[in-house]
């Protein structure tokens, strides 16, 4: 029964994509230049954030050991990130285009400035998106082992099969496939979350007061110690993390662009962004308050599986939700990485039809994701790649903030220097913790505050680079 439903979901979604494409085919020459017919971008955004990132990744870890203040910080950071992206699109492009621009126009505007800077920036964004997709694959594989009870080889094969299915969706339908299947997937993820949440609440007693506060040994303040400032510190660190993830994700830019393009009033738009940002955390709450474990233990992804997946329907809901949740974020990351590369190539050489280029880029993206996935399997900790990516997201977000979203302000070659210094710092820090991070423990969330340092450092370096570039220009004149 669960297998039949999984097959029905995957095939029916694909057939639906095909039917939608018959009514509104992908543009023949510019396959990703699609802004019409993409429904409910807010829900798609919620679905992506809630996917494996929130439910089985760092956000759940933070919620579990750092309590309510950090969770509120994450939610506020996500909402703030969405508003900043909306402001960025509005001020940099939307107003200039007279409300008639396209997302490709906006991306071209973002990837503007010195040739080397743009190449470095687009390469880093694309590779981060591919690595994000690969880390989702690694987490899916781990969960398939723990929650669905598959063996190592079977779980690996399941991850690859679902990745290829996701690739077919994107290759065949581009944004239309991603946005429309997101709506179906969000429905299934919600059913999974509600079913699992209800089972958890029924089977576990909740220590409401205890869950408000953080456990000792996480995000400790060096000088002030466990004072009331600790809660503020946790809130701020989590806020920067949530914010950074939004600022550095091109798929978030696309969804916020769609919200702006829809042209509803500012109040409704603000409400949409708040709803899209806060919804994943509201759904996460039942998990965060019911699951408890000792921090020193190795993370067991199936910790909620034993009780909640015993029923056939709950198992089916979990299997469908897991695969849907994965497809939602995997496809978004894959498409975002490909789109950024497509625009970068366009800057270098414009051709009449980009269809051929789209195919080659998609093949390259698929291979990069696969190679990263195969490399990631060799490590014992499936969350390691995602943990490492935190630094890369922080560096990109820092550059966005430091340049105020205008890369052309940076002097030539400075992008390379900023990214090199930021990532070298992060690599050195990460390398020093690698032994401890090789096994999956909840202590890996302790790397987040250093991610905030990378974010602030990249922002500061960008400001300095702009200042020095300006000084050089003045001297030359």
């Amino acid at each position: 029964m669960p297998g039949l439903l999984v097959a029905a979901l995957l095939v029916a979604s694909f057939v639906l994509v095909h039917l939608w494409l018959r009514r509104r085919p992908m543009p023949a020459d510019y396959p990703l230049n699609v802004d019409e017919g993409l429904p409910l971008p807010e829900l798609a955004q919620s679905s992506t954030v809630f996917s494996l990132t929130a439910l089985f990744g760092a956000y759940l870890g933070i919620a579990l050991v750092l309590g309510l203040f950090a969770l509120i910080g994450l939610a506020c950071g996500t909402v703030l990130g969405l508003f900043l992206v909306a402001y960025w699109i509005d001020s940099r492009y939307w107003l200039k285009s007279g409300g008639k621009g396209t997302f490709e126009g906006f991306l071209s505007e973002v990837l503007n400035g010195n040739e080397t800077n743009v190449l470095v920036y687009s390469f880093v964004i694309s590779i981060v998106q591919c690595a994000y997709a690969a880390s989702e694959l690694l987490i899916l594989r781990e969960l398939a082992k723990a929650a669905l009870g598959l063996k190592y080889q079977q779980a690996t094969l399941l991850a690859i099969l679902v990745a290829i299915i996701g690739y077919f969706y994107v290759l065949r339908g581009g944004y239309l496939a991603v946005f429309r299947t997101d709506v179906i997937q969000l429905g299934l993820v919600t059913i999974m979350a509600l079913a699992s949440g209800a089972v958890l609440l029924r089977h576990f007693s909740v220590d409401w007061i205890g869950k408000l506060w953080s456990q000792p040994g996480f995000w400790e303040l060096p000088i002030l110690g466990a004072s009331r400032w600790l809660a503020v510190y946790h809130f701020l660190v989590a806020m920067v993390m949530g914010l950074g993830f939004m600022l550095a994700s091109p798929d978030t830019w696309k969804r916020v662009f769609q919200v702006l393009k829809r042209g509803k009033g500012p109040r409704l738009r603000a409400l949409s962004l708040v709803g899209a940002g806060a919804l994943p955390y509201l759904v996460l709450l039942p998990f965060a308050i019911t699951i408890s474990f000792r921090p020193n233990e190795r993370v067991k992804p199936g910790f909620m599986a034993s009780t909640s997946l015993s029923g056939n329907w709950i198992f089916t809901a979990a299997a469908l939700g897991l695969i849907s949740s994965f497809l939602s974020s995997f496809d978004s990351a894959m498409l975002a990485g490909a789109h950024v590369q497509l625009i970068t190539y366009r800057r270098q050489r414009r051709v009449k039809s980009e269809r051929l280029r789209f195919y080659w880029i998609m093949v390259a993206v698929l291979f990069v994701i696969w190679l990263l996935f195969e490399s990631g399997i060799r490590f014992g900790n499936p969350w390691l790649l995602g943990n490492f990516l935190m630094g890369a997201y922080a560096a990109i977000a820092g550059i966005q903030v430091g340049t105020r979203g205008n890369l052309s302000r940076l002097p030539p070659y400075s992008m390379f220097v900023i990214i090199f210094v930021s990532m070298l710092f992060w690599l050195m820090y990460f390398g020093s913790k690698l032994e401890a991070l090789k096994t999956p423990t909840i202590y890996s969330v302790n790397t987040v505050p250093m991610g905030v340092v990378v974010f602030l450092g990249a922002a500061f370096l960008s400001v300095i680079a702009i200042f020095l570039g300006g000084l050089k220009r003045v001297r030359r004149n």
Partner: protein
Amino acid sequence: MFGETNTIYEFLKGKDPDQRARIIAYFLAPAFILGVSIYGLFGFSINFEKPVALSELKMEINEKGEYASKRGVVLIAEPTACEFVLPLETASKIWSSVDEQTARENVKLNHLGLDAGAVFGNTPLLGEKGPVAIVVDGNLGSEIHVANSREPVDDWRLISRQSSSVLSAAFAACLLMFGMTFALGMAPVESDENHTS
């Protein structure tokens, strides 16, 4: 292998750039990844299930509800070709779903039995068309010997049918999509400058 690669190369050489890109994107690239992954994980076998599934027995409960430790192993042997030796400490007897006549013939031909603290089997068992259940007392080790190689016992443990059905379903859906996307993707697309929405 080289011959196949050469055939594919020759086939692609005759196509125009657009067709070549489509064939690679819609078929060859995902097929290569799937093929290499399956080969790396399962070898040349297309069967994702192991021919023998193990489940460890740890305790027994009597009618009074009292329980006591009792170690053993259940093996479910599929009717597919497989030779295995499973080392077990203190193994002394086998309890099986085959009848006495079938058991006698299989033991005589060394298709099933106990030898030096290990249970060995050569499936399919003679006279049995379906899966066979075998129960052996003793402590399970960490490895199983199959076709001259040693594999971790964990990879041979029994998994639930609903779990394996998810994998089979995903595999079937993926194969179906290979066909659908290839057929749809190879359909001609006419360049239309005004179509950019």
